[in-house]
């Protein structure tokens, strides 16, 4: 043969070395490296979320408050885009060419093969216009979603709104994923877990053109979506609407509670807003506008505004004093104006009369007996003991702490205790004379309108309340949370409520009462006026009431900011509300007209 035959080994070696390199590379790609397996899943696996319809909300009478309306998201798969009439497209969807390009590039940078939202929430009208033209735009398609709709336009603060989840929620709660909607306030937030239902997941395989190619793992990992539950709210939407109407051009709040259940009948915060403003993509434009409004329409005054209770607090002072035994129903005190200012009225000879006439010096003296019970020698120590006991008793009424309710974000208010004054003045440096303005509901006391409505319910019930709530019934569920069906006693014997109720009846019914304007023909209304001192301007007009006196059906608290004395504005509003609720009609049209026409937004502040 020839001397070149050894070269067969070199050729063979070259073949072998290349094969060895291939095998090493294949071992690395297929066995060692995991990246490609993940990429493979990304390629073919699409997780399709099936969003359940969010639960509906009805009012106590079955009126629809919240439902879902179909909205249409225009989606784009950039990889499927073909040549098309961009001008026609821009005209149809009312966007500019620059917008189109910007959105296209954004979608493309996200993925060429996965759909991204091109235009959010087309209205049904827009979609109707373009529906039959969509075939001209390959790569675009429309995905249906739902939006919340509020047919009544009322009770925005109670119902709340939904919005996209933020990152901190996603981190805390594994249920939520970016882009999900969640209740942000009100009932939508409180009953989020009932309303949202259960999301379904479908895992499908797709080909390179993103066409569905069947389910993954025979659908064993798929879950069905479960629609959200229907909720009946305790609200009476007619009453709510009437309350909002009466409160137009006024700032303040109206809270009405059914005393024998604790169900909130209406919760008005004025000025309010149309809940439909905070829906879908309009939220982006409307939210900042509402935030900047100087009257703070987003602020729920009924659950978050803190005021001094004013004279209404005298009812609690009298109740605690009687329970503590420092006075009796028949105790009278002279109206000594040197103690604390008062208006001219006959001497209050008993508790009922003191309520009717709202005598300030009377309660100065009652409170002194509560605070200084002469248990120890030092008046400072004595005051501490008295105040501690008093504060405990007051808090039992749901003041100065978390009032159990299902409305999110209710403020605590403030009932100043020993610690508070020790911090304020220093230990042993304060006594009754320092804190006497508490006696008439002024000073450091702070209460929230819903707490005041609850107080009206407590008096109506003669000593207990059910935590106020906006949930009446969950469809298909027989019970509501235990909390709302458990009586909360305030620690006052029911017998002590009689003189208070008598006094409150007299406030409305008898000559010399402070709220004659609250009278309703044929119904015995019990009420109490208050004037919450306002360091920033004119006092707030406050009134709480319940009716009818026997077997009360409604308890109410009305706050009208910067409108002065409680009998002038708050009392007639409360009476109109109660009459509307109890009789479904208004007998005194003049009273109604006066309220409707009143504009108290620009009252010149008292200086």
């Amino acid at each position: 043969m020839n001397n070149l035959s050894h070269r067969k080994y070199i050729v063979g070696a070259i073949f072998s070395i290349i094969c060895l390199i291939f095998i090493i590379r294949l071992f690395n790609v297929q066995v060692v490296n995991n990246k490609y397996k993940l990429d493979s899943d990304n390629n073919v696996l699409r997780v399709i979320t099936e969003y359940p319809a969010r639960g509906l909300v009805y009012d106590r009478n079955g009126e629809l408050l919240v439902f879902n309306e179909a909205a249409y998201d225009l989606m784009l798969i950039p990889g499927q885009l073909k040549e098309m009439d961009t001008t026609l497209f821009c005209n149809l969807f009312d966007i500019t060419k620059e917008d189109f390009l910007a959105k296209y590039n954004k979608a493309k940078s996200y993925s060429r093969y996965k759909p991204s939202v091109f235009e959010k929430e087309l209205s049904a009208a827009t979609y109707g216009n373009v529906q039959d033209q969509m075939y001209k735009f390959p790569g675009f398609f429309v995905q249906t979603r739902t939006l919340r709709k509020y047919p009544k336009n009322n009770a925005a603060h109670v119902l709340g709104y939904i919005g996209e989840v933020n990152n901190s929620i996603i981190e805390k709660n594994s249920y939520y994923k970016s882009g999900d909607y969640i209740g942000k306030s009100g009932l939508e937030l409180a009953y989020e877990e009932l309303l949202r239902g259960k999301r379904g997941v479908r895992k499908i395989l797709v080909d390179v053109h993103n066409r569905e190619k069947g389910s993954y793992n025979n659908g064993l990992e798929d879950t069905l979506s479960v629609a959200g539950q229907t909720i009946y709210s305790s609200l009476d939407v007619d009453l709510q609407a009437y309350g909002e109407l009466l409160m137009q051009n006024k700032t303040g709040s109206v809270v009405a509670i059914e005393p024998k259940t604790g169900e909130i009948l209406c919760l008005v915060s004025s000025p309010g807003y149309d809940p439909n403003l905070l829906v879908g993509r309009s939220i982006k434009t409307n939210y900042p506008i509402l935030t900047k409004d100087s009257l703070k329409p987003l602020f729920n005054r009924a659950t978050m505004a803190q005021y001094p209770p004013g004279s209404i607090f005298k009812t609690i002072q009298a109740l605690i004093a009687m329970q503590e035994g420092v006075i009796t129903e028949q105790t009278g005190f002279p109206c000594i104006k040197s103690l604390v200012g008062c208006h001219n009225h006959p001497t209050a000879l008993n508790v009922a009369a003191s309520i009717k006439m709202s005598c300030n010096p009377y309660y100065h003296q009652v409170f002194k007996r509560l605070i200084q019970q002469n248990k120890v020698k030092s008046i400072f120590k004595d005051s501490e003991i008295g105040l501690a006991k008093w504060a405990t008793n007051v808090k039992k009424f749901g003041f100065g702490g978390t009032l159990e309710t299902d409305i999110p974000g209710v403020k605590n208010g403030l009932v100043p205790g020993v610690d508070f004054y020790n911090r304020w003045y220093g230990e042993g440096r304060w006594a009754f004379s320092t804190i006497f303005s508490l006696s008439i509901g002024q000073g450091e006391l702070g209460v929230i309108p819903i707490q005041m409505a609850n107080l009206a319910a407590i008096i109506a019930n003669k000593g207990y309340y059910y935590p106020p709530h906006i949930l009446k019934k969950i469809e298909g569920v027989d019970t509501i949370p235990n909390l709302f069906t458990t009586k909360q006693y305030v620690g006052i014997d029911s017998v002590y409520f009689n003189p208070i109720i008598q006094g409150m009846l007299a406030v409305v019914d008898e000559p010399g009462g402070t709220a004659r304007r609250a009278k309703i023909n044929g119904i015995s209304v019990c009420g109490k006026t208050g004037t919450a001192q306002n360091p920033h301007g004119e006092d707030h007009s406050v009134f709480i009431a319940f009716a009818p006196m026997e077997n009360p059906k409604i308890a109410i608290a009305v706050y009208v900011e910067n409108s002065g004395f409680g009998g002038t504005w708050a009392a007639p509003i409360a009476s109109l509300m109660m009459e509307q609720y109890l009789t479904d009609s208004i007998s005194d049209k003049l009273k109604e007209k006066r309220i409707l026409e009143a504009n108290l937004l620009n009252v010149i502040p008292k200086k």
């Binding site: 070199i10 073949f15 094969c19 294949l26 790609v29 493979s40 080909d207």
Partner: protein, 433 residues
């Protein structure tokens, strides 16, 4: 008659069996690659696996015919066959049909034939014929030039068809020439040039900082080359005659480094430069030029150790991998059979290549030996580029994987190529030289 029966008893069944196994693996992979539930019939001419079955049948017939032709026919008609194919390559330039940018197809009805595929065995025959002339010496310049001319002619014609992939295959004949006496330095020079080319491609996009001075990667490479040259001259200072070679190599090297830019931007098509850049990792473009390789790696990589199982490949079934029944058929095997499958396939090929070398070396006829080496080299080059491409070790060049990729022309051409050698081998004892 006696002669013919002897030929059949002398057939190398090991090679034929390997061929059949590869063809069957190929058909199964094509079936898996285009499989969908709606078309599960095997004989379905509307589907690629149906067509391929037809091609396989015809190939076996072709193989049988070739085995019945006397080996002397191929030695006698080597040049006429070569001439015929050259004419066809010219003809396709004039009357051919353009498919995917390459004007390299004759269209007959719905089928298309690619003459370049058949050019390989024809060139192999011609080269074998020329180099087997008694007393020929590879050291002669005339021999070299003629041998190279035989190979270059189809290269030029195929290049004119704009079919780069098929053209590159003809460079595999260098291995044959090497075996027949071409200086090993040519192989080394080739490898060295390729190495220098890749290195300067990688270096030229970077800058290095030395002593607060920025220096371009390309310039740095030249400094290094010069330094290496100087070192080599120092070492060989007692053999000054080597200096000329060292200086020549140095000048060529510097020339190569400087010409890289020009070759890259002017000689290569933009998509080719891009594919090379993607392969080298200089450029990352998973949606564009790098899409094929990225998806191919995903498919192969997702197969894992033991694969997803036959017909269970998601990447290939759902068309994420392009050209998955032709150039990227290896992906289907990688995804569905995993590392076990790819290991077995690569081993099977290596076995075939080594078997062919073994067969070639046992020939007493120089013609048969050279032809055998041509077969091994051509198959190996396809294997090298095709699999190298799917696993990201070679730039994307569209050439088929022998016996496995879908396509009538390529399967027939490989079958003819291989079975001529099997026939030649079968009658080796009757041929003296």
């Amino acid at each position: 008659m006696r002669n013919r029966t002897n030929v059949f008893t002398n057939l190398d069944w090991v090679t034929i069996l390997t061929y059949l196994v590869l063809v069957i693996i190929g058909w199964l992979s094509i079936y898996a690659a285009v499989y969908n539930e709606e078309h599960s019939k095997i004989f379905d001419l509307s589907q690629r696996y149906g067509n391929q079955l037809l091609w396989i049948g015809l190939s076996l017939l072709l193989a049988l015919i070739i085995l019945m032709i006397e080996g002397s026919f191929f030695t006698s008609f080597a040049y006429p066959i070569y001439g015929l194919i050259i004419l066809m390559l010219i003809g396709v330039l004039l009357f051919g049909t353009e498919i995917k940018g390459a004007k390299s197809w004759f269209r007959i009805g719905s089928f298309a034939i690619q003459p370049a595929e058949f050019g390989k065995f024809a060139t192999a025959l011609a080269l074998a014929k020329f180099l087997s002339v008694l007393g020929i010496n590879m050291k002669d310049l005339k021999t070299k030039v003629t041998a190279i001319a035989i190979v270059i002619l189809p290269i030029i014609l195929i290049l004119l068809q704009n079919d780069t992939g098929s053209m590159l295959v003809y460079f595999s004949f260098v291995l044959v020439l090497y075996r027949e006496g071409l200086s090993g330095n040519v192989l080394l020079a080739g490898i060295y040039t390729a190495f220098l080319f890749i290195t300067s491609l990688l270096m030229r996009i970077q800058t290095f900082t030395f002593f607060n001075k920025e220096i371009g990667g390309e310039l740095l490479l030249i400094y290094i080359l010069v330094a290496l040259g100087a070192a080599a001259m120092y070492v060989t200072k007692k053999m000054k005659r080597l200096w000329i070679i060292i200086i020549a190599v140095l000048i060529c090297s510097v020339g190569i480094v400087f010409s890289v830019d020009y070759v890259f931007n002017n000689v290569l098509e933009p998509h080719q430069s891009k594919r090379i850049n993607v392969m080298l990792g200089v450029e990352s473009d998973p949606q564009g030029a790098g899409y094929n390789v990225n998806q191919s790696l995903i498919a192969i990589g997702s197969g894992g150790f033991s694969g997803k199982g036959f017909l269970n490949g998601t990447q290939t079934k759902f068309n994420f991998v392009p050209e998955q029944s032709t150039d990227f058929i290896f992906c289907t095997i990688g995804e569905e059979w995993g590392f076990l499958g790819t290991f077995v396939l690569v081993s099977l090929y290596l076995f075939l290549f080594l078997r062919l070398i073994f067969l070639a070396e046992r020939q007493r006829s120089t013609f048969s030996r050279i032809y055998g080496y041509c077969v091994a080299s051509i198959l190996f080059f396809h294997f090298l580029i095709n699999i190298g491409m799917t696993i990201g070790l070679a730039p994307v060049i569209g050439i088929p994987l022998p016996f496995i990729s879908y396509g009538g022309s390529s399967l027939w051409a490989f079958t003819i190529l291989l079975f001529i050698f099997i026939r030649l081998d079968a009658e080796r004892i009757y041929v003296l030289r």
